[in-house]
Amino acid sequence: MTENGFGAAVRRKEDHRFITGLGQFVDDINRPHQLYAQIIRSPIAHGKINKVDVDAAIAMSGVVAVFTGADMAADGVGGIPCGWGITSKDGSPMVEPGHPPLAAECVRYVGDQVAVVLAETRAIARDAAELVDVDYAELPSVANLESASADGAPLVWDDAKGNICFDWEIGDKSATDAAFAGADQVVTIDIVNNRLIANAIEPRAAIGDYDAGKDEYTLYTTSQNPHVIRMLMGAFVLSIPEHKLRVIAPDVGGGFGSKICHYAEEAIVTWASRKVNRPVKWTADRSESFISDAHGRDHVSHAELAMSKDGDFLGLRVSTRANLGAYLSTFGPAVPTILYATLLAGSYKTPAIHAEVKAMFTHTVPVDSYRGAGRPEASYLLERLVDKAAKQTGIDPIELRRRNFIQPEDFPYQTPVALEYDTGDYDAAVVKAIELADYANFDQRREESAARGKLRGVGISTYIEACGIAPSNVAGALGARAGLYEVGTVRVNPTGSVTVLTGSHSHGQGHETTFAQLVVEALGVDFDNVDIVHGDTGKVPFGMGTYGSRSAAVGGVALMNALEKIRTKAKKIAAHLLEASEDDIEFKDGQLSVAGTDRSVAFGDVAMAAYVPHNYPLETLEPGLEETAFYDPKNFTFPAGCHICEVEVDPDTGVVQVVRFTAGDDFGRIINPMIVDGQVHGGVTQGIGQALYEQCVYDDSGQLLTGSMMDYCLPKADNVPNFAVTTNVTPCTHNVLGVKGCGEAGAIGSPSAVINAVLNALSDYNVDDLQMPATSERVWQAMQGNG
């Protein structure tokens, strides 16, 4: 392994600025003469806007303008588009309502944007916002799936009958019915996948900055994918051509999916900046984030597993209702369909699967991707069901899983739900995890816990995910309205230092380090002489951004392809300089040598020759050393693994504490194990959060009850243990790096392991089922027989 190259636990380049307070997050940026925007949001879940009176606000000293939905509509501003179209099983397209950045006629959730105040200071903007008088005629609303599905329920959109956006299915229904007809036993489960809020610690922010001299716009925004925002906002909302719109996502303080979407505030500040010819800055308060950031999950499902008498899985039937909120967010429709139901095979060779998904509108914040996006929902459902099957059949839960695993020799494996897994070794991950978890001695630990008055339980899950979204043609066939490739440019500077421009975006993942490791490996340059540039459409040619654990598997491979082009060109230049045949040039450790001789030239000298081409094959080769590659993957990648959780339950109070957690994952080849471990720790903690602490609760009138960190419980340091993590490597077969992706796995595999552990701890209490989050009261009630 090269020091600082592929596979090394290199310390991160980006850290220095963050540990010294010199990071540049959007709210750290201030533009000369900027104004501050305060959004006026609906306080009710559903209502008609009768009148918006802005006179008193405009009259306030320091207020520059107040704009309403009518102002934006009058300017021809378009609606916020949805990036994914789903077709119902009857062939009809999903109901796709308009989504103006500022509502002009009707509000549809608490937090819906109605007007914006621009003022000289943030405080004045807030003062003035209170003076904007909006007269609403309140209408009945539906705050959850249950009320939205009820007969005669109030409609969020008139053309979405029964509040159904689409009614979709996947898999072979008749084959599945046949499998059930021939089954010896059937296990059923009802699952609520709790609604969550990503809560990246950096609240969203945006600055619109219009340059009248050049008729150009710059948007600074907290985004995971600035080029996507440029495309969506430029083409669909504000009609600004790409060459006149620059989107910069500088340091971004965590995303977890919530910063993928194109949000109304981005369009509002960009548009308003031109209206007043001054920069306009908006920064969310946390309480604003709770009612304006896309929420995640929120499924209600019923599932049935058909088995033979020996516990072989014969068929799986799933019926899910998914809450999309009031409007379609950027990837909203893809999450409960393409990213969810295609993963219902899990790691098992269940021959027949049929799933139907009814996606519904409610008067709540739009729902979109949150770490894992669809895959945690699939994994949770399946792994809870399999554990229940183990209990029902009396087969050991690990044995039952093993019996049904897709085996290494089965790859490539075509599932009944569209995906083709390229490679994997599921049992190897189980073996590693069991060993690291000291699973064999669990009983001893259970006794120790019992001696302290605690109920100890162990739970296991195995998971698979589809990452690296995606091959564009497949994604397109599945409803994606954009390509999903990635772009990398390698610019070798004249003195041999390297600037990489990548379409991936790092908001914690550490690409400035891992991508530099790839450059070190390929070109043999010094780690410190590599810079990774990302997050600026004005610098990076193009990109689709970071989500779906795709950066290494798609962005990294694009970079590798660009690096390969650089190597090829460098060899040509070296061949000229060394007066040798190109075929005889070897490129290793930063030196280009003629094979079998001691003649060589350093890569830096090749770079110099490319930019000062005094001795250069100008007749056959352009000067310069810069290459770009677009990479569109052949398939998804399929990380998989096994998580084992141990909990202690306090029988007096119902409090659950995770006391041990082990993850055995297969992410393919690993560029930087330190960073991969960190991704797993963070993902698992979010999964523990979902399982035990986090839930988004609306009351019946659509008011968010968990609207602050006082009530929405994020896991704290004392809620989680140290984690034991290990990896097993089966390289991805269809990308040159052999990588699969690691960003979401922790959040995908862990919730079911936690709940399975809690149920195991309660095995003396006859508790069959427990919904997430397993709060202390919920556990206590279940122990009282009130589950």
Partner: protein, 265 residues
């Protein structure tokens, strides 16, 4: 937050004058509750009277049979005080369990007692230890102090100067924190004082209250077992998304037994 006039008087007289001149003035101690409330625009005082520059409000003293803690002493100082630890370790522990480290560095006992948040910890100590709240005009005994939700015996403009805790024979505090805010869902102080056994509960109801049935039982038999079977009525307890009244009632029993066990162990 809304704009206000800021004052930082150096004497109680000056503070009283500002309060007297401005109906909508509020006292500012550590600000751990008031400032977030003002940030949310749920409070709009015309004037804030910052007590941090008034001499004599931030002392801890031991008078032999009691300790007195100045209103402006922050929770971290109470937790770290050798005087408090020697006299009433339960009080040190309680102070150390409030909020988080940064809140403990700013929040004060006077602010907490004056605010009487139903989920605050100090009310359990004040009531359980039968403390005396000293104000700029009188002394109020704990049993007369807590009235209702955010309501105490304090009159408008009355300023808490200190809280005096008689040293108990023994006392222990057991808390069930809200997992998100870390406020008390239920906190129970059990104390054996000169006047007898006291069991005070915070978090469960609109304001801190005593459970006399438990006090009676413990007076006869000071053991966790003595509390078994004493039903806590859920009827008057708070119910929210973190804990139903029924669950709170159950937790009152659990926390009381845990406090007793601490004392016996």
């Amino acid at each position: 937050m809304y704009e206000f006039n800021y004052h930082r008087p150096t004497s109680l007289d000056e503070a009283r004058k500002i309060l007297g001149d401005n109906d909508e003035a509020k006292l500012l101690a550590g600000g751990m509750t008031l400032l977030p409330t003002m940030k949310m625009r749920l409070a709009s005082p015309s004037d804030l009277v910052d007590l941090s520059n008034i001499e004599g409000l931030a002392d801890i003293s031991d008078s032999g049979d009691a300790i007195e803690i100045g209103a402006m002493v922050c929770h971290a100082e109470v937790a770290a005080s050798d005087v408090v630890r020697a006299a009433i370790p339960a009080l040190s522990d309680l102070a150390d369990s409030i909020g988080d480290a940064q809140v403990r560095n700013r929040g004060t006992i006077g602010g907490s007692v004056a605010n009487s948040d139903p989920a605050a910890d100090y009310p359990a100590a004040v009531l359980g230890l039968n403390a005396v709240v000293k104000t700029d005009r009188r002394e109020i005994s704990a049993d007369d102090y807590f009235k209702a939700l955010f309501e105490t015996a304090l009159e408008p403009g009355e300023i808490v100067i200190s809280v005096r805790f008689a040293k108990p024979e023994r006392a222990a505090y057991s808390k069930f924190p809200n997992p998100a805010s870390r406020y008390a869902v239920v906190g129970v102080m059990v104390a054996e004082t000169a006047e007898g056994i006291r069991v005070a509960v915070t978090g469960a109801a609109a304001c801190a209250y005593r459970v006399t049935a438990m006090e009676d039982a413990l007076s006869k038999d000071f053991s966790a077992g003595a509390l078994e079977g004493i039903a806590v009525d859920a009827a008057d307890l708070l119910s929210d998304l973190h804990a139903s009244a029924e669950y709170r009632a159950h937790l009152v029993g659990v926390m009381a037994r845990r406090a007793v066990r601490q004392l016996i162990a």
